[in-house]
Subunit: 366 residues, 2 copies
Amino acid sequence: MTTQGTAPPTVYDVASAAGVSIATVSRVLRTPDAVREATRDRVQAAIRSLGYVPSGNARALAGRRTGVVGLLLPGFDVVPDERPDVVTDGGVRIVDDRRHVTQPTSSNLYFDEVLRGAETEAWQRGLALMVAAGRGPSRDVIVNDVAGRVDGLAVLAQTVPDELLEHVARRIPVVVLADDRRSRGFDSISVDNAAGMRTLAAHVIGRLGIRSIAYVAGPVDSPDDQERTAGFKRALEDHGLAPAVVRTVHGDFGRVRARELARALLDERVPRAIVCSNDQSALGVLDAVLARGLRVPDDDVVTGFDGIDAGRYSVPRLTTVHQPMGDLGRAAVRAIVDRLDRREGPPRALRLPVEVLLRESCPPSL
Amino acid sequence: MTTQGTAPPTVYDVASAAGVSIATVSRVLRTPDAVREATRDRVQAAIRSLGYVPSGNARALAGRRTGVVGLLLPGFDVVPDERPDVVTDGGVRIVDDRRHVTQPTSSNLYFDEVLRGAETEAWQRGLALMVAAGRGPSRDVIVNDVAGRVDGLAVLAQTVPDELLEHVARRIPVVVLADDRRSRGFDSISVDNAAGMRTLAAHVIGRLGIRSIAYVAGPVDSPDDQERTAGFKRALEDHGLAPAVVRTVHGDFGRVRARELARALLDERVPRAIVCSNDQSALGVLDAVLARGLRVPDDDVVTGFDGIDAGRYSVPRLTTVHQPMGDLGRAAVRAIVDRLDRREGPPRALRLPVEVLLRESCPPSL
DNA sequence: TTGAAAGCGCTAACAC
DNA sequence: GTGTTAGCGCTTTCAA
């Protein structure tokens, strides 16, 4: 409807229309049973006929709680896809998409899952969810903007500088996702990177009996990568292998770079297994290995970490460690609610379990 | 940080710490240039040392605008995946995922894209985004909750009953996505379903010269389906074909049902082309056609509509009409902002262009 | 350039 | 049961 010259109706309008006080209107909304039925009906009729919608802001201000939780994600990658061979017909573009290389948009999908989990949990608890992607220089503004409107804030690791987060945390509970930040005083929820990688590596080394391994790590400053690498080393020790036995290279978690690294690796010597610190890298490795004419898993097994969708569709499908991103979002909301009821107390960290998914690139047995 | 026994600081706290009035604090925040530098510095220092974050609610209340737009999506499908053959080791589950049938989670991905588009646009305009998935009986509550906290609301078609929407629209601008609801008085943004299907069908009939066609429609009450079907009929007329020539069946937009329908279809007679009203159906049809030992596109071409991810990974890859979901979200926010500056005026409808993506299941030429 | 004061729309005592 | 009233934390005239 677009008709609307007047200001939106308020409790006062409803009250006078129904011939009651504003307190009674408020009661009808919040504690209906405390109002006589006849009165209630009159008020409800007034609400309907006026088109009254209570102001969440006034309510939050008076009630000292907003009923909203915030979720701060890293900036969505706004990568407009390129499209080949375009023809236009009758206003509708026709694209020959046959050779279109499917682009990895994985990281976005990740956040989407977190978001969905958070939304679900928030809804179940009667809370609304406010999302923001903290990118660009105006990040401070956004953070403050969001922080000022919510009862608690969940922030994905490395989205916001610690200093800013600490400022915000003096006002509302903050929980950091995907990184254990207890040392900084934050509650946090992360995923059991180390155990996941250790278990997967144990499969490769112990179960499959492979001894010739290359390890494709990620950026050295990634906390995820550090934990995964630690888990990997742990598995080596478990089986009496010296880490030195393994050729380790550092990538950037990207597919392209991993492809290059894998090529170099294969030029030197072909390991029996290539274990990667994330799925994107593993897909890049897969590209290189297959391009070299090697067969996976027969000549070479390849593993990833994350459980991105692309790994379910690759050929061969990618063995990986699946992170429960939806659960991460859900747990975040739960943690905020918990902290709201118990403001004091030491920071807590929750570790969510991961799952090893054995697929064709590194099967249960050879 | 978890230390926090006291209430969050307010303008008053900042004001007295800086030895100024609350008005000055407000000015420092909103119109810094209107305050002498020395004063400003003192205030900013106080803000930092107190950990002051302005209350968005109080601000919205006083300022009569929230700076937030709402996005209402249909309930996320909370379909916990089933997992086969589980083994546990050291706390980490190991799953033999080799035969795991990839489940279609497409519709969710859709909303995710809309969401991302909306978030991006909102951010660029300095607005925050509040999301909610309106499911269950408490939908009314949610809608009112969200509506009371935002300056405008974007709603995906069929998420909220018209009546409720009209109520809300008396307070704030409402824009409906994916369905032209001008007749009900709403601004709306949709996708050019008819032109998309017409163009695709013209390719099949005109370019490829196919005359033996089956059409798998969706639920009769779906506005999307109606438009697509109209576009299809239009293409038939364009080429002098009577709609009666085409065998039409109605599915439910789901893969499973489409598989059944296709089987029945093939039992009767094998058409040269099967045009489907959405991708899920087309994937189901593909399943059935291939299971029957027919080759696609050699024996049979198959087309979908939507442009879901699964269609990029299917074998053969699915020819389809791609809807710009991200643009839908972006346009929604823009429409709200527009309407905010121009409350009066007839409802507007925006049609976004679609793209035909020719892939292997129905290539540019045979 | 700064301060005082009047709301913004609601909730929650506290009276009646 | 229902009404009165004092805030909730901020913005914004209007004066000074």
